[in-house]
């Protein structure tokens, strides 16, 4: 294993982040706020450790599987450490652990926050906060797809779990082309949403920040009341539409735009994803209409936003769900665990795996009836191999196991059960808000520091699809 090459690639990641640090610094200088030193110093550190490896380590044309996994995993961790420096140096509500939590939440596009007063922060800090989402949303896809396909893809568990069978079909391009497609869709959606929100009456600054958070399915808002703080139905509708798009496979979106046959209209995955989403919206709307709201349309408005927000793992809020009936909270928790499609910027189990799970369940029942039958799961006419099926099952079980362990640890720290469970599900799913003390308009400031650290680990595990980080601990088996 060539540590030098790994360090050089991580340096490239830091140099990429430096661009956005520089923009944040410019904002701080223009606004003359007290975060100039924080950004200047972080920029220098980032440039130092980004450029230094280039002096000694020559370029390499290939990466082994383990080197690729190391680059992606360590790159994320180091990016979060450096990304936390502006917050740490700024101070205020940002203690060391709070800054780490907020940064990991940003880069993993979770959107959980420890801040009690977001609007008290200077614009440069708010911009950096949103930027961590935008980098993180494209980061894992960008870097994983740039680096990993250069190695022996058949040995990569990470590639198999990151990209579903449908996704593989849609990414039947070379790595560079795939990257361009994803970047084009990502940047295109961001621009489109920024323009739409500006037309809808948001300031350009707020529009950019909210767009960063929407397309990355992150959820960091510039307002204390999240999207509810804008008091605009039009803005909520625009954000709902873009949240839905961001939860769909980017390859399918690109194919739809470019007129290819394998598009969102012909994909059964997308079809079922939308059906499940709308079923959830309907159930929640009806319950809210029956218990909380006089008007069905008001209930529908809030239900739609919250279901789509959690279902796409964005985490924006248009109302406080802590006061909602338990039935609706359970439905929202389901969406917190299911999340959106593979190949999007959302986290969580992913809808594809849920589909594979249920199809596998049906297959097992049929095999019980006809033990000698040969049954193959298919999605959109493409067969799913037994290896993928097995990996999906193990992933789901391990995912739920991590939720259980983290919930247990949090309750040991005297966090109430609903907060502990929903916080864990929300962080490992990269959703953001949970319920009770960590609800949609609440925050994670009341969670003990040790709990915040555990939740930040959950965020990283969720974003890196668990096996990425775990495989680093099994160094011997790579040989």
């Amino acid at each position: 294993m060539r540590f030098g090459i790994i360090i050089r690639h991580i340096g490239n990641i830091l140099l990429f982040n430096s661009i956005f640090l520089f923009i944040s610094l410019l904002m701080a200088i223009i606004e003359k706020d007290n975060s100039i030193i924080a950004f200047s110093y972080t920029l220098i550190i980032s440039l130092l450790f980004g450029l230094f490896p280039k002096l000694f380590v020559p370029k390499s044309n290939y990466l082994t599987s383990f080197e690729g996994v190391s680059v992606v995993t360590l790159g994320w961790i180091i990016t979060c450490i450096v990304g936390a420096l502006p917050f740490v140096l700024y101070g205020g509500e940002f203690t060391f652990i709070n800054a780490w939590f907020e940064t990991v939440s940003g880069f993993t596009t979770t959107g959980s926050t420890i801040l009690n007063n977001i609007e008290a922060l200077p614009d440069s800090i708010l911009f950096w906060r949103s930027t961590t989402h935008w980098i993180g949303g494209i980061g894992v896809i960008l870097f994983a797809l740039v680096i990993l396909p250069a190695s022996n893809a058949s040995r990569l568990t990470l590639l198999n779990t990151e990209i579903s069978e449908v996704a593989k079909q849609n990414f039947r391009y070379r790595a560079k082309q795939t990257l361009h497609i994803i970047a084009a869709v990502y940047v295109g959606l961001t621009l489109l949403e920024t323009i739409s929100l500006t037309i809808a009456g948001m300031s350009l600054f707020d529009a950019i920040n909210q767009s960063f958070a929407t397309i990355a399915t992150g959820g960091f808002s510039t307002k204390n009341l999240s999207i509810a703080g804008f008091h605009s139905l039009v803005i909520e509708v625009i954000i709902m539409v873009f949240m839905l798009f961001s939860g769909i496979h980017f390859g399918l979106l690109f194919n739809t735009i470019s007129g290819k046959s394998n598009n969102i209209f012909r994909s059964s995955l997308v079809r079922w994803y939308v059906i499940v989403m709308f079923s959830g919206i309907l159930l929640v709307s009806l319950k809210l209409w029956a218990s909380d709201y006089d008007s069905f349309w008001t209930a529908l408005r809030y239900a739609s936003f919250q279901v789509i927000s959690l279902g796409t793992t964005t985490g924006f809020a248009s109302t406080d769900t802590a006061a909602w009936p338990f039935f609706t909270q359970i439905i929202l928790i389901y969406f917190t665990i299911q999340c959106a499609c593979v190949g999007s910027t959302s986290g969580g189990l992913k809808f594809d795996r849920i589909m594979i799970f249920f199809k596998s369940l049906i297959k097992q029942i049929k095999l019980l009836q006809h033990p000698r039958a040969v049954k193959v799961i298919k999605i959109d006419g493409r067969p799913i191999s037994e290896q993928v099926e097995r990996q999906t099952m193990i992933f789901i079980v391990f995912y739920l196991f991590i939720i259980f362990i983290s919930t247990l640890l949090l309750t040991a720290m005297n966090v109430d059960i609903m907060s502990a469970f929903s916080a864990t599900a929300a962080t490992i799913g990269n959703v953001g808000p949970g319920f009770s003390t960590v609800s949609s308009l609440g925050n994670f400031s009341t969670i003990p520091d040790a709990g915040k650290f555990i939740l930040s680990l959950d965020m990283l595990l969720g974003r890196l699809e668990i096996f990425g980080i775990m495989s680093l601990f099994f160094i011997r088996s790579w040989k």
Partner: protein, 248 residues
């Protein structure tokens, strides 16, 4: 890039980081220093003047009670001294107005003191007011308490400012220390990385060249030390290669 330039650039980068960290820390520390000076000069001084004024009016109040008991000689002496001390502190406080609403507060104190002073400027001993506690209670005590309240308002304004400035200083102190702390940690990491790079991309290639030469000496095979860096080590490998070719 030559080895010399690589090593030099590395140290330059490290020095730059240390320098910047030092500049930031010094800047923040000097800010903290200035703020502390400001607090001592402005707010603490104002508190001192307010304390003097409080002490003066307490003495004047005691002197009025002495006047009520016909001890006018002792009372007049106390009143003269206290009045002088109060007016001195008040004039200093007027010159030291630094906070919002402090000017209003000082003006109020001036007006209230003038009203309080009027009481003891008029004869008290050997008049109907002598030994008249009811008169004291209705005419003197209320004004005394009112004046005291206004002085305490001035104290509160300055105390609140001191408290918020202290919080701000605490924050800036943290910002002064942190760059230094981060610089220390970064330097340690940098040192480890530097040692690793020197070992991997300078020492190991040198050792590889030596072992390949020894191997070539025994077996006379093709010489290739697999040097990938574009520096003096590559030049050395090429020079040895040329030498071998020439000797052949």
């Amino acid at each position: 890039m030559s080895l010399k330039l690589k090593i030099l650039t590395s140290f330059l980068l490290l020095s730059l980081m240390m320098l910047v960290s030092g500049i930031f820390s010094v800047y923040e520390l000097s800010f903290v220093n200035n703020k502390v000076e400001e607090i001592l000069k402005d707010n603490y001084q104002s508190l001192q003047y307010a304390s003097t004024m409080l002490e003066s009016i307490e003495k004047e109040n005691s002197a009025i009670l002495l006047l009520l008991h016909d001890e006018w000689q002792k009372a007049n002496l106390i009143l003269k001294q206290s009045d002088s001390s109060f007016l001195f502190a008040l004039s200093k406080a007027q010159q030291n107005i630094t906070e919002k609403k402090e000017d209003v507060s000082v003006q109020d104190i001036k007006i209230k003191y003038a009203a309080f002073k009027k009481i003891w400027q008029q004869p008290i001993s050997e008049t109907s007011k002598a030994n008249n506690l009811i008169w004291y209670d209705t005419s003197v005590y209320n004004r005394y308490i009112d004046l005291k309240h206004h002085i305490k308002v001035m104290i509160k304004i300055n105390q609140q400012t001191m408290f918020s400035e202290a919080q701000y200083i605490k924050e800036r102190r943290r910002r002064a220390i942190l760059p230094g702390l981060i610089a220390i940690i970064s330097s340690i990491i940098f040192s480890f990385l530097f040692s690793f790079f020197i070992s991997t991309y300078t020492i190991k290639p040198l050792k590889r060249i030596i072992s390949k030469i020894r191997y070539f000496h025994k077996n006379e095979n093709f010489f290739d030390a697999e040097i990938k860096t574009n520096d003096e080590l590559k030049e050395l490998e090429e020079a040895i290669q040329s030498l071998i070719n020439e000797l052949r």
